[in-house]
Symmetry: C2
Subunit: 505 residues, 2 copies
Amino acid sequence: MTQNDSNILSLFLEQIKQMKSYEEALGVLYWDLRTGAPRKGMEVRSEVIGNLSAQLFKLSTAPELGEWLTELEKPAVYAELSEINQRLVTETRKEYDRSIKIPPKLHQEYVVLTSQAESLWEEAKEKNDYASFELYLDKIITYSNQFIDLWGVKEGSRYDTLLDAYEPGMTTAELDKVFGGLREKLVPLSAAIAASPHQPKTDFLKQTYAKEAQKSFSLFILKQMGFDFAAGRLDESAHPFATGLNPGDVRITTRYLIDDVVSALFGTIHEGGHALYEQNISKDLIGTTLATGTSMGIHESQSRFWENVIGRSKPFWNRYYKDLQQHFPNQLEIPVEDFYRATNVVQPSLIRIEADELTYNLHIIIRYEIEKLIFNEGVKASELPALWNEKYKEYLGVEPENDSEGVLQDVHWSGGAFGYFPSYSLGNMYAAQITNTLETELPNFWELVEEGNLLPIKEWLTEKVYQYGKLRTPSELIIAITGKPLDPDHLVAYLEKKYKDIYKL
Amino acid sequence: MTQNDSNILSLFLEQIKQMKSYEEALGVLYWDLRTGAPRKGMEVRSEVIGNLSAQLFKLSTAPELGEWLTELEKPAVYAELSEINQRLVTETRKEYDRSIKIPPKLHQEYVVLTSQAESLWEEAKEKNDYASFELYLDKIITYSNQFIDLWGVKEGSRYDTLLDAYEPGMTTAELDKVFGGLREKLVPLSAAIAASPHQPKTDFLKQTYAKEAQKSFSLFILKQMGFDFAAGRLDESAHPFATGLNPGDVRITTRYLIDDVVSALFGTIHEGGHALYEQNISKDLIGTTLATGTSMGIHESQSRFWENVIGRSKPFWNRYYKDLQQHFPNQLEIPVEDFYRATNVVQPSLIRIEADELTYNLHIIIRYEIEKLIFNEGVKASELPALWNEKYKEYLGVEPENDSEGVLQDVHWSGGAFGYFPSYSLGNMYAAQITNTLETELPNFWELVEEGNLLPIKEWLTEKVYQYGKLRTPSELIIAITGKPLDPDHLVAYLEKKYKDIYKL
């Protein structure tokens, strides 16, 4: 590498580090806003966040960054870069091109529009008034279509351009295939479950369960999973989340419901799964934009693996039920088998975030199909409520009584996050496929869970997934781990096995 | 004002707002570091802080900022500015000139040196090894002398240039006068107290006092003072502090000692006093660098007013003692008079931060006299331990057994904060002088305290002090409130009255 190229590489890496500093500072500010920042300081704090974000955007779209990228992409130069720097160049180029293609004025209009729309959505949902939100939703769709035009469309499906932001490389063609396979199996399975005479009892889950004991048990389970409290913390917030500020500072939150013994617990395990990913990214990636999860889908695979595959399994409760009982003396006097079945009730319902592990995927497929219609077929906001209700009836056998429990239930569209929903089900599918390999490569996998020896599982996932951060794409990762591309059959097989047992089908 | 000047004013105000955004973001990051940020994230976080600080320094020393100032300072332009903008120009000019006079390389060397020295000081203090620290202290003194040369010296006293950074306009000449007056009265008063046969009993203060009850009582008192919990919060940290991020977000911390019933309480009231100042700065100053306390001395006057004048007064405990007793059933069965006297024990001691309200000032005077010798007489680091011990013997009648409890006890010098110490006693003097006026202007002042009606006192201070932020200088403020400049006699009179009663002199 020439002296000049070596200088350019240093400037490039320094710029990335600067960008990363702003991202981390903004991460702390957002965490703070959601975990107890005083209300009256919010207005000024929003401006601070706006100013820092603008500075970050300026760094990310700086003309010199484009020039450095062009130089580093020259084959002779690129070939001499380390693997990490090569990927950094590729990733930065992708982000850079996406960002500079949007005229700053358009970007700013969009930021203002979506921030207004989020408040309006909240009001519309509360008042069950879709009409007041419809106009804004159409505007957001129009902007998203403009972005698609500016970013460019590959091979015909406009929706692919949006998908790519959350799950790099994912296409409508592939999702049609995997979601099709999933829907075909899950709709009848869900119906068979509903018809089973062996419905679990769940009433005992709803008593008063002291918050302090819930917290103490959640912390205990996080420790068992290998969550590193010297590199993270657990707080409370209205909507639980995980945020990886850097691998040495990964924070999660939960929300304790005192009339539910498992709600906060499964929430904590879920966010804990996200956190294990972020805490175990290789030290070599620190200070680069690769020090984060590779996609929303892979991230979600880790939260769902820990929450559902592990946390809602029989071996897990065979080991930990007695600890839970000790935390709530005289409150859980039913057998572990009944407890396990109660935490795995399947019940088609209207609200996604309250759905069980099985029907959850049908909620996602509905949203996916609607988003496709919007961007590939030009469906308008006015048509969405009817479309929504029809699909809920068809796939889940339930029908919303009003739009608040229907098309207005999720925040995503008001923020313009079209293409995000599929990540949730991709997470379930990745998790099942990875579990399938795990069961072969750690042959005593379920014994480890039953012994409460969860650390080897964390180590295995670190080796296969966590350490790489964004160094591998989702498809590279899933092929390297499991030997083949994403395959929905693993999720189907996992769900069939689990629920045929629980519902004695 | 011409269109051009009006544009310049906008650019200037926008730059100030940007600087303020960085200050606020850094404020949140520091608060976070001190209230529970995970240890393993610190290294990366330090870099983030370094990058943001560098950006702030760049904004504060931007050549265009200098050009805008020059234009706005032209008499015809300046005359047309609002009062706030005039003061903003003056303040910014002062900071700007201080900053640009230091060559960036020198500034960076100094930042590295003092950050090393702080760690070294900590080690030296722990190991009682002044020799290992002496070389660094000499270096820091040399840098400070270079800064004095670069900043310039007015009227002969080199130390004045350092004082001005913490207490604008304060001089050695004035401090010699006020501290002289103070020392002359306090040394004999302290001796008379020590000789009194009427020493308060204090053993009952030291029992096990449950942390939760201490916290609940501290929160109760903060509410009584008018601390706005929608514009602030109370957390825990190893060293209590207050930080005003913006007037709508002012955070304080405390540290609960379970074997001491008043330590955390008086700490909380102290920081609460700082917080009332920051929460009640006028909305008109938000987004400008004037939205903060006008000087360290005035800030300290407010924390000490609430902690000592109010919190350690008899009327206060006549009102609140029964609440304290209720928080600790069966633990405080002594009369209120004894409790009041116990919280006001005077005892000459070696450690400043543990000193009582009276002898505290002698600790400060010793540091002041030593700092003057360093910068005005060229005294070297090697001479400080002996000097320190002599002065402790002379003023307080006690002598350190080693340097850890002597010259090594405070962090300030390792960070180069020469000129800071006087603020603490200035705070006591300002507080006493303001109290004197308060007693006249709110004639039922002590009755209000005895009734637990503290809000009118907060309102009076808001009107006289808090609302102005940095819009008035300390001396403008004290003259506007009390009709005369700083006068140590008020503190002397206050202390004599209080302690002659307590010790029956």
